[in-house]
Symmetry: C2
Subunit: 480 residues, 2 copies
């Protein structure tokens, strides 16, 4: 569906792009590029959605560069797509209407680390792993960890989360302040370094998750955490998927503060065994992590171990060894790539519905039944402590029947999650791949979003066609 929609969209007039590019070349010189390899490389993300290359790519090296690009795009009504690591999963970076892609990866400096206040400020183009390396030296860490080595700016844009969210929250909870360039070139600083504030509308939270449709984020102030005194990890296979899920539910309801509690079904274990050489039993399995003092970690592991005992666990392996832990979590982060390797040439269609925890067992079971009935290859893996899980449909992109089947199962899953009080996306975002689910989830809230989009970006130059349906917003980006 999104494919035909993408094809239907018209591109911005070449003369407009040329005018913007020539204006930019005068000041930004070779930061502007139009080689085919660069255009192609910037038009696609890690998803199955059709790529759409921009007409030009600009590498920003400062907020001033971003201002110059935004102003040129505004002057000539040229669509602008911010680009980080290109690891998004719903076509967020596709230049659906052509225009200029703004590559942020050269803005990758850490501007300030304050271990005393447990915060830091970074440029938007730094990746989470590059940041982590610098933070560790100060005895602090940033917990948000999507599978990919995404940029902090991209993670801000999609309101990303990951395996630690059950304890530390998501980007929503861990971005304190932002520097952003508005569609007219104005630079705003939202939020402060204070932990809380009641000073007016929460512009920080409005921009977090707005996917580059309201502003380009150039700097991000993040909340940090002290590296725990002790970190313990556990692996626990179960007789059934239901037993694993029930263990998660009971753990969360008891208020045990696990740092991570991840589910991998037997198919995912098979894929990860092969890709990451884990050597685990092929059974529905929980990966867990506990943070705190030695005493706290031992107590938490004991409690969860006891809960697992009552739900058909088949072994509980606990370790505080760093190398073993790292191997485990690297494998977990590589789950998507492991799945892709399971079927060479296949594309992954990863779902990410999120439901209230009491609904999780039923929603997962019904989804699993759908998968089995349709005879498709689709491992399940997820951040089940949040009620969030992924089905990774592995499909032949050239087989329309397979594609249609996966999409239909995804639609059923989303409807099931929404009916259960949940959301169509726990962490991947809308991009253009999930636009069709917005109305059902938000009702007239979609109109409020469009009102905000029109008010802040009246020319509709900021990543047009994402989050709010392009056809309903005015401006050049949707001239067609």
């Amino acid at each position: 569906m999104s494919h035909t929609a993408a094809q239907r969209r018209t591109r911005v007039d070449t003369s407009c792009v040329e005018a913007a590019v020539s204006q930019l070349r005068a000041t930004l010189a070779d930061k502007v590029t139009m080689t085919k390899a660069e255009l192609d490389g910037h038009g696609r993300d890690e998803s199955w959605h059709d790529p759409a290359p921009p007409d030009a790519v600009v590498y920003a090296e400062s907020t001033e560069d971003v201002v110059a690009v935004v102003q040129a795009c505004a002057a000539h009504r040229v669509p602008l797509v911010p680009f980080g690591a290109g690891t998004s999963l719903e076509g967020h970076v596709a230049a659906l209407h052509g225009g200029i892609t703004l590559d942020m990866t050269r803005m990758n400096r850490v501007l300030r680390i304050n271990a005393e206040d447990l915060d830091c400020t970074v440029e938007a183009g730094i990746t989470r792993k590059a940041l982590d390396e610098q933070l560790r030296r100060h005895g602090v860490f940033f917990p948000i960890d999507p599978g990919a080595d995404a940029t902090i700016g991209g993670m801000t844009a999609t309101r990303a989360s990951g395996t630690n969210a059950v304890r530390y929250g998501t980007m929503r909870d861990n971005v304190l302040a932002l520097t952003a360039v508005l569609p007219d070139g104005t630079v705003v600083r939202t939020g402060t370094r204070a932990r809380k504030s009641s000073a007016g509308y929460d512009l920080t939270r409005l921009l977090v998750g707005s996917e580059g449709t309201l502003a380009v984020v150039t700097e991000v102030t993040l909340r940090l955490y002290g590296v725990p005194e002790v970190i313990g990890a556990a692996v626990c296979p179960f007789e059934s998927l239901g037993g694993a899920v029930d263990t998660v539910i009971e753990t969360v309801q008891l208020g045990v503060q696990v740092a991570r509690i991840e589910l991998l079904d037997e198919r995912q274990i098979m894929a990860s065994n092969a890709f990451s050489d884990l050597g685990l039993e092929e059974a529905p399995t929980l990966f867990l992590e506990f943070h705190g003092s030695r005493q706290t970690v031992q107590e938490q592991a004991r409690i969860v171990g006891e809960i697992a005992e009552t739900h058909g666990q088949r072994g509980w392996t606990f370790t505080t060894r760093t190398d073993e832990r790292n191997r485990l979590w690297r494998a977990r982060h590589d789950a998507y790539y492991a799945d892709l390797a399971l079927r060479p040439g296949a594309k992954g269609i990863p779902t990410d519905a999120c439901v209230p925890i009491s609904q999780l067992a039923r929603v997962v079971a019904e989804t699993r039944r759908d998968i089995e009935d349709a005879h498709v290859l689709a491992p399940i893996v997820g951040h089940v402590g949040d009620g969030n899980f992924h089905v990774i449909f592995l499909v032949d992109p050239d087989d329309p029947v397979e594609l249609a089947t996966a999409q239909e199962l995804n639609r059923r899953l989303v409807r099931r999650a929404q009916a259960a009080g949940g959301t169509c996306t726990g962490e991947h975002g809308i991009g253009y791949g999930k636009l069709e689910f917005m109305r059902e989830e938000h009702g007239d809230g979609v109109e409020v979003m469009k009102t905000i989009k029109r008010a802040i970006d009246p020319l509709n130059i900021m990543n047009p066609g994402k989050v709010v349906a392009a056809a309903d917003t005015r401006g050049a980006g949707d001239a067609g």
Copy 2:
């Protein structure tokens, strides 16, 4: 300053109000009232700011009632002020331009408690204490606790927090979803019951803290927590204010998960001794609370006790007895009323700046010096774990010199906090009392807020004159 501003504002034309009231009487009958006592009672909050009574008060009993009132106000361009417990501190409920005040206190039902999912949905007019009573029966609690027995709707509107925020966050973190009536009468449901979502703009967070200027919140879905297995409380006096503050800083930086860590200076202890019969030594004192298993609580208390030891503590009293704890925290919640009782006839001017924790000791010390130099009566009390503290200036409202002195010291404090990377308000909000600080804190962000306000409330009927300066928005509410 805000006083003259209030007086300068013109009121909506009487004929408009009459038209709206007569439209409403036809359907809402005696839910509409215009008695002087009702008007006066709804024009003031607990602050020192000049009251401004509305022209009519309507008691809403359902979302449908709210829709009727909003539609009538929109049709006749009449300002609308939502009203909860009337405990705001920056003139939030003053009907600066006249119009209709919408009293939400009859919408006080708990619609759903789901202990399994640790969430509930309530009508906006329920107070936090009334909710707490119902929650306790389910073994869960809601942690946000401003001093006053505010309504959940009012707490949502001001992005309130309280003593537990250092561990559990603020209303920003604990509101999952909202039902709200937009300025055109549309009912929207923002958010879902899922713990996290990346589905579009975060309308929930946009409305939390918007002080009734964008919509009227009628239902709130809240995140809950299991009642801890053990709760331990401690009281610890210090030789100096600096020693108490340093203990807080070190505790937070070490990552000890205290549930509450509150500072009361010797003046506040004096006031609370008199008001709440505490019998504590008159010294700068920390009130603390620890939540968790017996083991965790003991471990945390031991660690903080050791930190206090190195910063001049003069005694550490620990208890897990419910009655002693309750007495302590009741006294803490009554701190503002205790201060008012310290000087009969005086009004309180409570500041609430919030700074990064590393700046707290300096900012508190400099503020304390200001107070001493000016020879004013102003206890200090606060949620220091968040970097948030209150100076309660006790002034004779009829003495312009006292008023001006307190305002000037507050301005100095706000400037000091903002320069330290903090905010003018950690939890009280802007109302009309703190409008003057918005520009310095947000720069051009204020323009973004105005853009959003104009887009969502083009007639400027929703609580005009609050959060964003009235004179800069268009519409009837600011006709004068």
